[in-house]
């Protein structure tokens, strides 16, 4: 009587979640027909933060590259978009992927430099890079220098003829980037690269001895995340219609909130960034006008979670109940 | 019957999920030298580490002079008079020979072992006192490690693999010094790969095999074959 091992990737919970997620995305995609302009803005902003959080999570939670300088790419994305529209006369929608390309290219020499630093020094190094970009763009008079620059309405009209249609396009792109980021992270982690990343995260020495090319994997992830982050950044500033160096490269807006979202939601899980973004928006509803108090509370919450429940909200739930809505591992069942 | 200085009762020790000790018991009397023998991985170092507090243990399983000390942090246990000469010496590379020794005595227990006394025992250390501790030869480093443990004036000294990485002549010299080192009524537990040497200097021995006591008693009471069988786990119990 031999036992046979059945190996699966999904569980009932994950299959249900998959169906629900698909339904949710379809529902949200149809929002232009059931929602108001304010609804679209809110959901779009939500999707934007989910994108930034998922990307940062991929970098820090999986590749172990804790960057506090991703605002460099958010701002770069914004400035590339403005440059493309103002000086090359391009359609803003075309400028978004260009921003991604530009950021990806810049990320290559940047990675070569900052990868010489380890751990927290790496983190601060990424911050320095962001500062260099901020200071550099503040020197470019053609882009408004320190006071920044605005997008003229004509340029934005190139997206679509009516204001409604423009808002819909931007909304769909936001939604696309948000779901795309989660999806890409999910698929990546289910693939061999993902296996390599998880192995690296667990033990660099062990994975090196098994032939995992750590530096190449980390390098690729860093560049990929930089490009995607820049695309999100370009979309953010397309919506704002105005960019300044301080806003573009703001640590608070593009890094602090993102880090807190991921830590609270559950670092190193796919579900975490989504949960964390929900918490962030809920808290914002209640603490709306408190400004810096809001950041203070988020910061304190992140510290408490890091000390008491380091896996975050989702991580703790997943560990306790053994469920995974976006499973990236394998399950072994025994059938007698 | 003199009171046991150190009593270990049914000690179970774990490294994460791995159980290294499966219920080990022993009793050590004052002034006694106990040899702890066994193959690699049998649990000898783990036993020493639990006694001195580097590995967790339930409170009541280890009694020192009547007090239950299991699981106390190592820095508390050393202050009660137990010192460890760790496997592989574990000297502090950033400290000189003399600084290593001074640090050993930093907890302020009084007794015959002072810096001068240690230098008297190991004159070569006095010559090299300002040298970085890890620049010394293996045998000299072993002297520093022993001296460092002595500086805390312990009542019980735990010696883990003194001969590890040392030339036989050096080992012989160090063992020759043992009676003087322990002369002041100090108790000792000696972990040693070289069974003959270990049994030659001790009054009692315990043989560990895969985390369990497979044989114990006085060295003279057992034949080599009997001990060997217990060592390798081939003895019928």
């Amino acid at each position: 009587m031999t036992a046979a091992a059945i190996i699966t990737r999904s569980t009932r919970a994950s299959r249900i979640a998959g169906v629900l997620a698909l339904a949710a995305v379809i529902l949200l995609a149809a929002a232009p027909w059931w929602g108001s302009r304010a609804d679209l803005r809110l959901i779009g902003e939500f999707a934007t933060y989910v994108a930034l959080a998922s990307l940062w999570n991929l970098l820090a939670g999986y590749a172990g590259l804790v960057s506090v300088g991703q605002q460099a790419y958010v701002g770069l994305g914004g400035y590339v978009l403005f440059t493309c529209v103002l000086f090359l006369g391009l359609n803003p929608l075309l400028a978004i992927p260009l921003a991604g390309l530009a950021a990806g290219l810049l990320a290559i020499p940047v990675a070569k430099l900052v990868f010489r630093l380890q751990g927290a020094y790496f983190a601060i190094g990424t911050w320095v890079v962001a500062e260099v970009l901020r200071l550099s763009f503040a020197q470019v008079q053609a882009l408004g220098g320190g006071s920044g620059i605005s997008l003229p309405v004509d340029a934005v009209r190139a997206i679509a003829s009516s204001r409604d249609l423009r808002e819909w396009f931007i909304y769909w792109i936001s939604l696309g980037l948000g779901t795309g980021a989660v999806l890409v992270a999910y698929l990546l982690l289910r693939s061999r690269i993902g296996l390599a990343l998880t192995a690296i995260r667990d033990s660099e020495v062990a994975s090196m001895s098994l032939g995992v090319r750590i530096t190449s994997v980390k390098f690729a992830v860093y560049v990929l995340v930089a490009a995607a982050t820049a695309m999100v950044g370009s979309l953010i500033f397309l919506q704002k219609l105005r960019i300044t160096p301080d806003a573009a490269f703001s640590v608070n807006d593009w890094t602090a909130f993102v880090i807190f979202i991921v830590v609270i939601g559950g670092i190193g899980t796919i579900e975490g960034p989504v949960i964390g973004t929900i918490v962030y928006f809920l808290l914002r509803e209640f603490l709306a006008d408190l400004g810096s108090t809001y950041l203070l509370i988020l910061g304190a919450l992140a510290i408490v979670i890091m000390l008491a429940a380091p896996k975050g909200i989702w991580g703790s739930i997943a560990q306790r109940f053994g469920i995974s809505l976006f499973p990236t591992g394998y399950r072994v069942h025994w059938r007698e | 019957m003199p009171e046991a200085l150190l009593e270990v009762r049914d000690l179970k020790a774990f490294y994460g999920d791995f159980q290294a000790l499966h219920g080990v018991s022993l009793a050590l009397r004052p002034g006694e030298m106990l040899a702890l023998i066994g193959a690699n991985g049998a649990g000898k170092t783990t036993l020493l580490k639990t006694i001195c507090g580097l590995v967790a243990a339930p409170r009541e399983t280890i009694r020192w002079k009547g007090e239950a000390i299991g699981g106390l942090p190592a820095n508390d246990i050393v202050k009660r008079g137990i010192a460890l000469v760790p496997e592989g010496r574990r000297l502090f590379p950033s400290l000189s020979v003399e600084e290593n020794l001074i640090l050993g005595g930093a907890m302020g227990r009084s007794g015959p072992w002072t810096l001068a006394a240690v230098y008297a025992m190991f004159p070569v250390l006095k010559e090299k006192r300002h040298a970085p501790s890890t620049s010394l030869s293996g045998g000299q480093q072993q002297m520093v490690a022993i001296g460092r443990a002595l500086m805390s004036n312990p009542e019980l000294i735990l010696l883990d693999e003194l001969s590890l990485g040392l030339a036989p002549i050096v080992t012989r010299d160090i063992y020759a010094m043992l009676p003087d080192i322990l002369g002041h009524g100090m108790s000792a537990i000696l972990v040693e790969q070289d069974v003959t040497r270990a049994l030659a200097v001790s009054q009692h021995f315990i043989c560990l095999q895969e985390g369990r006591v497979s044989l114990e008693g006085q060295p003279a009471a057992f034949t080599r074959e009997r001990i060997s069988a217990a060592y390798f786990g081939t003895a019928p119990t």
Binding site: V66, L295 | L95
Partner: protein, 288 residues
Amino acid sequence: MNWVNAIVQGILVGGLYALFAAGLSLIFGVMRLVNIAHGDLIILAAYVALVVVQLTGLHPLASLIAVVPLMAAFGYALQRGILNRTLGKDILPPLLVTFGLSVILQNGLLQVFTADSRKLNAGAMETMSFNAVAGINIGLMPLLMFLTAVAVIAGLQFVFYRTAMGRAFRAVSDDKETARLMGLDNDKVYAAAMALCLSVVAIAGIFLAIRSNFDPALGPGRLIFGFEAVIIGGLGNLWGTLAGGVILGVAQGIGAQIDPGWQLLAGHLAFLLVLAFRPKGLFPRIEG
């Protein structure tokens, strides 16, 4: 002459940068912790000094008497209460907790003191200067700042290599487990190190507050200066950190001479160049 003057001023301000960096270097050496809130703690010290000066009317430099013990006590409590729990093999907890701390400090100070720019007034000392060589003016405060930096680093070296506390620091940094066998309580040793670090931070904060305007958002910039000084100088070498600070200061001075807007960029450029060509720094002693 302007160039020479710029370089001289750069050397002197390098002392301040070295003060920023010294604490960072110390803590990394003892417990391999990089405190992202370090810059914000310097700003906190500046505000503490502000309050002390307002309450007592003391001269800013004299307020050291109160600020140093206050910051030291805060450092001890911070380490024992929170930071000790983050130490371990995982790099995420210390990084994320100190990042959270940085945000909390900035926003807390913002709440209490608003974003208004402040400055501490050192009175006549601020304008005193003397003519070193023809055309080169050396201000009293910058010189004092530099000499204090040298003294602090010499002091830290003394503590590290010639005191029992320094012995304990080196021991726990070498081997945490064996340090316990010496009767050392690692938690308390780390807390003492942080207390020492924040004492230096207090000095740095007061000099910062005298030298220029400050507000709650200045922390990260100071962290970056300190960090750059440490990396340029090389890890594990306090005198190297002084050299790193001086190089940073001089680079910034040269940049400012070319164009005022280039001051900070020039410093970052110097840092990036060192990172590119001498990644271990100029005078390294330990591995990062």
